[in-house]
Amino acid sequence: MIARRLLIASFALGCALVSSAQPAFVGPAPARTILPTPELQRAAYLARIDEILAWRSSQAKPGELFPEMTMIATKLALHQDAELCSRSVIQLMKTPASGPFWMFPTVNVAFLGRDQLSLEARQAIRKAWSREMQMRGDTENHWAMYYTSLYLMAELYPNEPGSSWYSGKSSADNLAEAREYLIDWMNLATTVGQGEFNPTHYIGEYAIPMLYLATWAKDPAMRLRGKMTLDWIFADLAENTLNGVLHGANARTDDVSVIERGKALASFFSWVLFGNVPPIISYGGWGLYFATVAKNYELPEVIYRIAVDRPSDYVQRDFKRTRRRWRNSDVLMAPIYKTNYTRRDYAVGSYQGGLADPIQTHVWDVTWDVRDPRGVHNTMFSMHPVSSSYDLQTYFSELPDQMAKEVTKEGKASYDSPDKFLGGSRFEQVFQDLDTVIALYDIPVGTRFPHINGFFSKDLVQLTVDPSGWIFAQGGSCYLAYRPLAAYQLRPVALIKSSMTGERASLGDQQLFSPHLKNGTIVQAAAVSEFKDFAAFQAAIRALPLSFQLVTKPTVTFQTLRGKVVTCTFGAAPIVNGQPFDYTTWKLFEGPYLNAEKGSGRLTITHGALERILDFKTLSITDRVKP
């Protein structure tokens, strides 16, 4: 947990950048134009990178040292002001920080500045890596950044003794350790499943180091591994976005982007790669570190097409894994079965419940499309708000009592709040079939926050509490039917504006508060275009057979709008049309766009006739255009 504090410091730094004259952020939402050729796609990509660099460069104050690393990296990327960059580096290296969030920006500057920085500046960087003990952190994204940074610096300064590195290990030993970790992690992610899957902001912590590895590793095999991992991450991003907006489920998200789905670092990546959504303010801060090197990455057309060109609805099923469980579990990493059903107007995503991550998990939602996602709360879901030292101890090597307190002070301000909308629960079980979600809750007596929260956006229209028990609404071009299974109140809620500070704002959203331990939610989504009008949608929903009981184990039998009869009982396998639903047969990826067998290390990315195969076993990329 302690290393998380470093993220906060760095995150705060990124957000402190101002948005003045940031063209894509203040301009209109991008046109939804599919660029027809790779050349046009590439040109647009490069233009967006140029926009970022020009914007950041323009913020330099004449004659003043650059106060932080994104400015130096930007100037170096533009081959400007090398002398001022050198003096700024020397100044900053006088007080090196510790941890991966200091390491990777320093690597960025060290490599961009190899032929531009003065000898004294380069020596200042080298000296900082010698004297300041670097924290490795305690999380997968920390280690991706830490070991990529260490790998690259050990290559940059080979044949040096342990006395010249903070780790006390020689260049060769540092290189070997970093290489071994990175390969082991890539093998794990591509055979057993990704850990911090589909993160709304942690995507930067993976994409940026992988870009650096793909760009600067001397070893061609490691360069290729970086490139392939980057493709893997971006293919996953493309498939899980709705016109650039990353929807649930997410291993990790935050209080803001779980509600305003477009306000995520993932949107920066969608914007820079696919051009189909506005970037967030200041390009998320982190985006600058990507942009300075981004021209070295060539987005495969097949990934671009998956993001922007979907001829039909699709179901994608993926196999992921939880964060490591140190305690309170029979397994080190539990399986995650993730479903994504995406249509033109909305997407429904989920996994089976439980905690992928102890604090920031988001298990399911319906996210509807909006032409411009800025300021729009385009999502609906329910959840059990968990605040539990037991759950924190499952994932952290800490004593029990201080953790919730520390978490709330370290960038997860809502953790101990009963009206939060962020987090998963061991007491939630979810099943999704196409655009139907059934979430059941069986919360033990004595649990802190013994209730569930449903999120009702300010941006819903035609919100109707129906005597049938259903709540009907419309979000964008999506009709929504929400069925609480226990008594509830709909009440105004002030949302958290910043996970860092916990500051709240009342914007018109509502919380469905249901203080019943045995509980449940059914959500059925549909496209507006499927019905004559809203009344016809409501009538169709009312006509769907539904039975449930909450007395012992919560149980629901529901005939979905798509004609399937689904029975869900908390603690038991779902039954669909009379057959138990079997997760054990799931592949690593299965769907029209991404396919991989468990254990294979081989991802096939497909769009129409285009195909790219990433094979980590043979370390090869194979492209083809199918006949």
Partner: protein
């Protein structure tokens, strides 16, 4: 190393310690981090807080930082033959020093993280035990390599918070895990469970007066006592068990005095060998969230690290307290090590 050499080294350290009779016989080193009110560590932002890491008490009772400015050390072990050889359980893994903390090497690799405890076998000082969130690693070569030694530990439930070597017998080690207390009598070649717990055993201590007497604290089962060298354990009546206990200490100056630290209960003490217990929180800041305690083996002075408040000391075993500094700190350990005099280990002290 031969037994003769080891015995010689132990004798030397004892003689050296005696030689320091004019001053404390033990060094006190705090494993400490500092917090900005509001939440961030001193290493995260350039703030006017003391450096995190090791703070060592000098002859004038003033503390001096040494080693890296690093926010998480859980324990420090020192080779009884050579005060320059140190092993630190840190977030990064085990840090090893051969020059008294002037320079460090991360001894473990990427596959071991966040060790919770480290200890040296005094009879075989090349053997170092490292408690990990997923088991245990044992170095038999002074920290050069760290193979896992987990035969007999469960596949799950081996989260290890504490590891302590029996000073009376080489290769005899107790480990406090999620699922209970485990014992090896063959240098971790094999383990067996000697007590089951519902949740983690948080601390293990061997009496300085009676090598057969051990105490333990747990999250779920209160405080425990063993009178047979850790083979069997009993719950200590009179110590509450409804909330987690964090650590326990013997008073080396008085065989009948122990103390327990707890976030919930604060400081609990006994002065009759565990028959009766008293809360000793008067004078500690409220809430008395004691994260760690220590008892100075030289004089029985009781130290309490109150979470994010300060370190407090008591000269009357908890009846009264006074601040000992370290405001805004979290103390992860009070480490008392037999003092070596006139050695490079103390060179950094004022």
């Amino acid at each position: 190393m031969s037994k003769i050499k080891i015995a010689g080294a132990l004798l030397l350290s004892w003689v050296v310690a005696l030689g320091a009779a004019v001053g404390p016989a033990h060094d006190l080193i705090l494993c400490v981090t500092f917090r900005v009110p509001g939440g961030l560590t001193a290493t995260a932002l350039p703030l006017p807080l003391p450096p995190c890491g090791f703070h060592q008490r000098g002859a004038d009772n003033r503390f001096t930082h040494f080693g890296p400015n690093y926010p998480r050390f859980n324990n420090l072990a020192r080779d009884p033959r050579d005060p320059r050889v140190l092993y630190a359980a840190s977030l990064n893994g085990v840090l090893c020093s051969t020059d008294g903390g002037e320079s460090w090497r991360i001894g473990t690799s990427w596959d071991m993280t966040e060790p919770r405890d480290v200890c040296i076998d005094p009879h075989a000082p090349d053997h170092i035990y490292l408690a990990l969130p997923d088991g245990i690693a044992v170095s038999n070569d002074r920290g050069l390599t760290w193979p896992r030694r987990e035969i007999g530990l469960p596949r799950r439930g081996k989260y290890m918070q504490a590891v302590k070597v029996d000073r009376a017998q080489a290769g005899r080690v107790l480990a406090g895990c999620e699922s209970g207390i485990y014992l090896t009598e063959n240098g971790a070649q094999s383990w067996r469970r000697v007590f089951s717990t519902q949740a983690t055993t948080t601390d293990l201590q061997q009496s300085p007066h009676d090598a057969q007497l051990w105490l333990a604290t747990t999250q779920s089962d209160g405080a425990l006592r063993s009178r047979d060298g850790g083979r069997t354990w009993e719950k200590i009546a009179g110590v509450p068990a409804a909330a987690a206990l964090y650590n326990i200490a013997f008073d080396a100056t008085n065989a009948r005095r122990y103390a327990v630290a707890s976030w919930t209960y604060g400081i609990l003490t006994t002065e009759d060998g565990g028959e009766t217990w008293s809360e000793r929180n008067a004078g500690l800041p409220a809430p008395h969230r004691v994260f760690r305690l220590g008892i100075d083996p030289d004089n029985g002075r009781l130290y309490a690290g109150v979470y994010e408040a300060a370190v407090y000391e008591s000269l009357d075993f908890g009846r009264t307290w006074r601040s000992a500094g370290f405001e805004h700190s979290v103390v992860y350990n009070f480490v008392f090590l037999p003092r070596f005099v006139n050695t490079p280990a103390l060179a950094h002290l004022p």
